[in-house]
């Protein structure tokens, strides 16, 4: 795969997601959680907590993080990294806004799930 290739794919508009909320995108077996923060930043993470696979899309979004609904781990939306004393990382996908349209690149991801 060419490193320079970007494979952006439209998944909807920013208005589809409530502020401080998330929606899911299905991709085969995988679910990807798309987050929108209070200040309209967009992030994409695999919908799986590094702890016990809790669905992060169902958590409470605050500042740049989401708190997992199952056991309250706090995961950074930008890096997928568990915060504080917890250790683990969720897969993060490149994502960007073109006007209101959300574009995601599923060919690149960082981290393992």
């Amino acid at each position: 795969m060419n490193v320079m290739t970007q494979n952006w794919c439209s998944i909807g508009t920013i208005d589809d997601i409530p502020r401080r909320g998330a929606r899911c995108v299905k991709h085969g077996e995988m679910t990807i959680a798309i987050f929108r923060t209070a200040d309209d930043q967009i992030f994409a993470l695999e919908d799986k907590c590094p702890h016990k696979n809790g669905p992060l899309s169902q958590g409470i979004v605050h500042d740049g993080c989401v708190t997992c609904p199952l056991h309250n781990w706090v995961i950074s939306l930008e890096s997928g990294q568990a915060q504080g004393a917890d250790e683990g990382k969720t897969m993060v996908f490149p994502i960007k806004l073109d006007e209101k349209t959300i574009l995601i690149d599923l060919s690149k991801s960082s981290g393992t799930s």
Partner: protein, 815 residues
Amino acid sequence: MKQKLVVIGNGMAPGRALEELVEKSPDQYDITIFNAESRVNYDRIMLSPVLSGEKTFEEIIIHGDSWYIDNNIMLYKGHKVTEIDREKKQVTSEHGQVASYDKLIIATGSLPFIIPVPGHKLPGVLSYRDLDDVTAMMLAAQSRGTAVVIGGGLLGLEAAAGLKEQGMDVTVLHLTPTLMDRQLDPAAGYLLEKELTNRGIKVITKANTKEIVGNGKVEAVHLDDGTVIPATLVVMAVGIRPNTGIAKDAGLEVGRGIVVSDQMVSSDPDIFSLGECAEVAGECFGLVAPLYQMASVVADNLAGGNDSKFAAQETATRLKVTGINLYSAGDFAEGDDREEIVLRDATSGVYKRLVLKENKIIGIVLYGEAADGPWFFEMMKSETDISEMRDTLIFGAAFQGGDALDPMAAVAALPDEAEICGCNGICKSKITTAITEKGLTTLDEVRAHTKASASCGTCTGLVEQLLSLTLGDAYDPAAITPMCGCTDLGHGDVRRLIKAKGLITIPAVMQELEWQTSCGCAKCRPALNYYLVCDWPDRYADDYQSRYINERVHANIQKDGTYSVVPRMWGGVTSADELRAIADVVDKFELPLVKCTGGQRIDMFGIKKEDLPAVWADLGKAGFVSGQAYAKGLRTVKTCVGTDWCRFGTQDSTGLGIKLEKFMWGSWTPAKLKLAVSGCPRNCSEATCKDIGIICVDSGFEIHVGGAAGLEIKGTEVLGNVSTEEEVLEYVVALAQMYREQGFYLERIYKWMARIGLEEIRSQIMHQPKRRKAYFDAFVFSQKFAQIDPWSERVSGKDKHEFKPMATLSLEAAE
């Protein structure tokens, strides 16, 4: 026969005297109080925090209505006594109420002094003495405008700071060159003036008021030197004089105050007087410490002991303006026979001065750093010879012995007799003993048991240090204080400020209360959301993004990310139709598990999030609504079979349980709320381990409160008995509402009860019909907005986005 005791005035002094009297000798007197103010006894000292918005009136009440009821005391509120007839031994109020006495207490306090300059009667000229004055000032402050405070003493400055806090433009006029000249020397007065000026309060000293002018209401204040200061409000705080009118009319001996012996008996042996209106040994007093001492003397004497006598003691003064540390005591005039030690630190604004005479401290002025006040004061009272420590004395207790400065060391160094709480005359050892003997661990408990820090509150820091010293690491003020890492405020403060400042959205709370994060965290957001839902049911829009997932999608999330749903089964009663509908849902959606819950209803497991609305649509057709098995709200009302079937049943426990559940479902509470009704004391529905439980008995219903059987097992306490189902409903609903208004988020009823005390709950719910009704009405009002089935709402399309993926991408699209 009981003797009749009548009290004129219901201020702080007689309040304390009666409190001690009913404790010492509960049934000796039939007590009647007349009070010109139409309210209960409150902490007058704390009016300034009410004015500045830091406290509410409710928080400064000393004896609530229930106290009078519990102690069988008749309180006539808003009844000013106009006549004392010593022949007939009776008093008459202005409304014509007559009461005869065996013993009479006159405690009419004092009247604010009004300088009789022209215009002093104009509307907008106020004094500063009672709650009415505070309310009037707060009202005036609403239209912003400019306030002139005449008098730069303790009261005047507290009023000025409060009015500034309320947004007014404030000028203080003071006659002499130094603010608070009765308590401060010119150097400290200067620092104080500078601090006030920095806060935007204008100070004019050597100001002689000539007249107040205005057309129909205050418009300006004119000074002798020609200065004109525009004003929409004028507060006169230039002094007080003992309120002796009725005593004089009754022919009692009156000097500056009502003349009493050191046993507080006036010239009539059956009439006592105490408080600011009394004069002992030629002296009148205007701070609570000596007044409380008078109160003890009166209580002792009325209870039959007669060896207790009043002896005037030195008192220290502090100014209760947040952020200003000031302490003064004793005599600090200059003189040939006196020496002084002064410490100044200009950069940190500290000034300390000790006045010595024959190697003993006789006067103390501390500004900017007042922690050592009590230590110096103790040495002053005990006339300690300080020649040994002269060189380091001014640096305070922590410095003695040459060790490095440690804030805690100052408190540790205080002798046992050192006075910590000046208002209540509580010394160090009394507090430390109470902490160890009674196992106290919090400030509130120390207040409740010793009264220390319960009046003006300036010694709070010292009391906290004593808690730390005595308990070591076991005292952790932080553990109870901040709500979460986003704020330093505790739940109690946040709840109060939401109401006091009228904050109606989460961003408003975060802005006004200076949250340290931009949008909170998973701890504070759900709590704030609940507080706002509870406090402003009709005005606040529930913020679903601040709710845990279960409350957001109205089902319980499971470990595999699927959901379970539990419909309401009112009082645990079901029918063939309902069971059939559940069976159909289980088949149609191929659910892997159906189970009876521990709460007398049925749980369906393994539902995919996308399927939830369809499951609810089917359940809804059969008449089911959400069982809210996920909510910090009303969960189940368990019942047993009761009179209809059971051979022991005394009342219709099933029917009553259903009534309660139908009335209360949908309400949000600080933590989960579970109820149960048992038909007899065999208690088959386990009512005695529920948040609220009802045990039916032959004569009616026993209401229980504060049980739990989860992480902790707690049996309930009996709140009281009532005789009809209607009463059960009213009392239980009122109780739930009181908890809704006061509980901290995630604090179940038993924890809330441990915090505020069963007695308080009982007194408000069982003994105060008006309160109870008000709680009941507030609950009913909020149900208008809360009792909406969340499932049917979502079946009709609400929050659609929650249940559907945003997009489904084919695998190729990504390659």
